[in-house]
Amino acid sequence: MAVKSNQPVVCCVGITKYFGGVRALNKISLDVHPGEVLALVGENGAGKSTLVKILSGIEQPDEGSIWLGEMEVKRLSPHRARAFGIETVYQHLSLCDNLDAAANVMLGQEPVRFKLGPFKFLDMGGSFAMTRERINDLGVHLPDLAVPVRRLSGGQRQAVALARATVRAHRLVMLDEPTAALGVTQTQATRDLIRRVAAHGVGVIVISHNLDDVFAVANRVVVLRLGQITLDTSLCSTNRGQIVACMTGMSFGQTPSADLSAS
C-alpha cells in the first residue's frame, strides 16, 4: 500500500537526551520514509513524547544527529522543522474553539487578498475553498465550515486538526494519541484519515497506547522501552505478543525478540 522510497524524509542517528540525571533517550536511530505509517509505542515514560518533541524541534538532543532529507541539521528549531514540512498534532488538538473550521485550518498562513500598509486583508473565499479541498481530501463530511469548532464532534475536530497539519506538513506528520478521546466510529474515521494522509506521500508517526490502532493503520512499528528501541520491524512480521513483550520487557508465552536481551 505505502509507497516506500529509499530516501527517508527524516532520519535520526544515535539520539540521546538527558533530563537532569535521567536518560530519557539512549542512542535512538530511526528513519521515516514517505508514505509510511510508523507506530511509535511504549509504556508511559518510555521516551515517545521526547522523541516527537526532538523531531519537531521543541527539545534539543544532547547527542546524535538529525537529517532532514539529505541535509544534516545541527540545531533543529520548531521554525526550521515547520519550514521543512514537519507538523505535530497534539493530544489536546490545539484548536481555537472560538474560530470556525476554515480559520483553524488556515491559522498562521491565511491566504491574503491584498495588503494595505502593515495590514494583510484576508481572502475569505480562498480560505474556504482551500479548507474545503483539504477536508474533502481527507474524506470527511463537514457541511458547514463557518461554525465555531467547539460545536463539532470529536471526530470532526480531529479532522480539522489533521487538515491543518497536512496543509503545511508535506514531509512528516506526527500524531500524539490521535484516538485517545474518541468513540468507536470516530476512531475508525481517524484511522481512515491517517491512511489517506500517508497515501499522499507524507510520512506519518502515530504515537499510541492502543495496539488496535497500531494494527489497523501502521505498516511499521517501533517499540520504545526505557529510552531504547526494543523493536523496529514491519507490521506483517510481528504480532501482539511480541510488541507487548518488547514494551514491558516481559514475555507472555511468545517468542521474545532478539533485541530484548540487549536492553
Binding site: L95, C96, L99, N104, L107, P118, M124, A146
Partner: protein
C-alpha cells in the same frame, strides 16, 4: 458567519462584497447587537417621553462628546480583551499622557506636544506588554502594578497640581470640528471603523481572536505571540494617549487625576458590548452600542433630575444584567443542543 462571499455573485466585485461583509458584521451577525440597539432606541424613546427636551441634536452631540473619551479607550480595551489580555493601567496612563502633553505644550508648539503625548501612551503600553509577556503571570497583576506606578508618575510630574498656561494653539486640536462634529467624537468614530475592519478582515484581527481563543494553538501554528502581545498593548497605549491628548487639548488643561476609574468604565463598556472576558469573542459595533447606552443612561438620569450618584449604580446594574442574560442564553442554547443531539441518537 462568513457566508458573504457565497451569497454575492463574483461579478458584483470586491467593493460590494466588502460593503456587504461590513454591514453583516455590524448587525446581522449578532442577535446580541440587535438587542443592544433595541435597548438604546428604547431608552431614547423613554427619555424623549419623560423629558421632551432630551431628544435633540445638540444634546445628543453633548452626550457623544462626553462619552467619546471613554469610548475611544474602550475600543483599545476591547481589542486587548479579545486577544486574551487586559490593561488595568489605562486610567493612569491617560493621566500621565494628558499632563505630559500639556506640560510640553507650555513651551513647545502644539503639534510636537500632541504627538509626544500619543507616543508616550504607545511606549507605556508597550512597556506593559513587554512585562506581561516576560513575566508569565496574569496581566491583571502586572497592570495593577503599573496602574499605581503611572498615577504616581503623573502626580510627581505635576506635584499634584493642575497644568495651566498651555499655548492657545494647543487647544485647536481638541476643539476642532469636522462637519460640526467635535474632534473627540470624530476620533472615536474613525478608530471604531478602523478597529472593526482590522478585527474582521485582516490577518492581525484573525490572530487576535485566535490568540484569545487558544494561545498555544497560535504558537504551534507559527504565530509570533510576543510580537502580537507587544503590538496589542502598544496600540492600546497609542489609543489611550490619543484620548488623553484630546481631553487635555480640548480643556486647555490637564490634571494628574485625569482618568481615575477610566479602566473600569472602559472594561464595563467592552463587556456590556459582548466582549468575553475570557478572550476570543466580541466585536466593535457591540462595544460602540454599549458606550452609547452607558452615555444615554448617564445623561438621561441627569436630565430627569435624578441624583447623578444613582447613575453609577444603574451602570453597574446594567452590566450585571447584561452578563447574566448572556449566561442564561448560553445555558439555554447548550440545553437545546443537547436535546437535539439526544433526539438524533434516538
Amino acid at each position: 458567519m462568513h457566508d458573504g462571499d457565497e451569497f454575492w455573485p463574483n461579478s458584483l466585485g470586491r467593493p460590494v462584497r466588502v460593503l456587504s461583509r461590513l454591514s453583516q458584521g455590524v448587525f446581522a451577525r449578532s442577535k446580541r447587537n440587535l438587542g443592544l440597539l433595541a435597548t438604546v432606541v428604547g431608552a431614547l424613546i423613554l427619555l424623549a417621553i419623560l423629558n421632551p427636551h432630551y431628544l435633540n441634536l445638540n444634546n445628543l452631540m453633548a452626550v457623544a462628546l462626553q462619552m467619546s473619551f471613554v469610548g475611544t479607550c474602550s475600543i483599545g480595551t476591547a481589542c486587548l480583551i479579545i486577544s486574551g489580555n487586559v490593561d488595568l493601567s489605562i486610567g493612569s496612563m491617560y493621566g500621565v499622557c494628558a499632563v505630559a502633553s500639556a506640560m510640553l505644550a507650555k513651551t513647545l508648539p502644539a503639534a510636537p506636544a500632541i504627538l509626544a503625548g500619543i507616543i508616550l501612551g504607545g511606549l507605556l503600553g508597550w512597556a506593559n506588554g513587554a512585562m506581561v509577556w516576560r513575566v508569565k503571570i496574569s496581566p491583571l497583576i502586572i497592570t495593577l502594578g503599573t496602574l499605581a506606578v503611572f498615577r504616581g508618575l503623573a502626580l510627581r510630574l505635576t506635584n499634584g497640581f493642575e497644568v495651566r498656561g498651555v499655548r492657545p494653539s494647543y487647544s485647536l486640536f481638541g476643539q476642532a470640528q469636522v462637519l460640526r462634529v467635535a474632534m473627540p467624537v470624530v476620533a472615536l468614530v474613525v478608530l471604531a471603523v478602523m478597529a472593526h475592519i482590522i478585527l474582521d478582515m485582516t490577518t492581525l484581527g484573525r490572530h487576535l481572536y485566535a490568540f484569545g481563543g487558544n494561545r498555544e494553538a497560535c504558537e504551534a501554528a507559527g504565530i509570533n505571540g510576543r510580537r502580537l502581545v507587544l503590538a496589542t498593548f502598544a496600540i492600546n497605549g497609542l489609543v489611550v494617549g490619543l484620548a488623553a491628548v484630546l481631553a487635555a487639548s480640548r480643556f486647555g488643561t490637564a490634571s494628574p487625576t485625569f482618568g481615575v476609574g477610566l479602566e473600569l468604565d472602559s472594561i464595563a463598556a467592552a463587556i456590556l458590548g459582548g466582549v468575553a472576558f475570557t478572550g476570543g469573542e466580541g466585536n466593535i459595533p457591540g462595544v460602540v452600542l454599549a458606550v452609547a447606552l452607558l452615555g444615554i443612561i448617564n445623561s438621561g438620569l441627569i436630565s430627569l433630575g435624578i441624583d447623578p450618584h444613582y447613575s453609577q449604580m444603574v451602570k453597574g446594574g446594567a452590566l450585571i444584567i447584561a452578563v447574566a442574560m448572556d449566561q442564561i442564553a448560553h445555558e439555554q442554547r447548550e440545553r437545546r443542543r443537547r436535546h437535539l443531539a439526544m433526539q438524533e441518537r434516538g
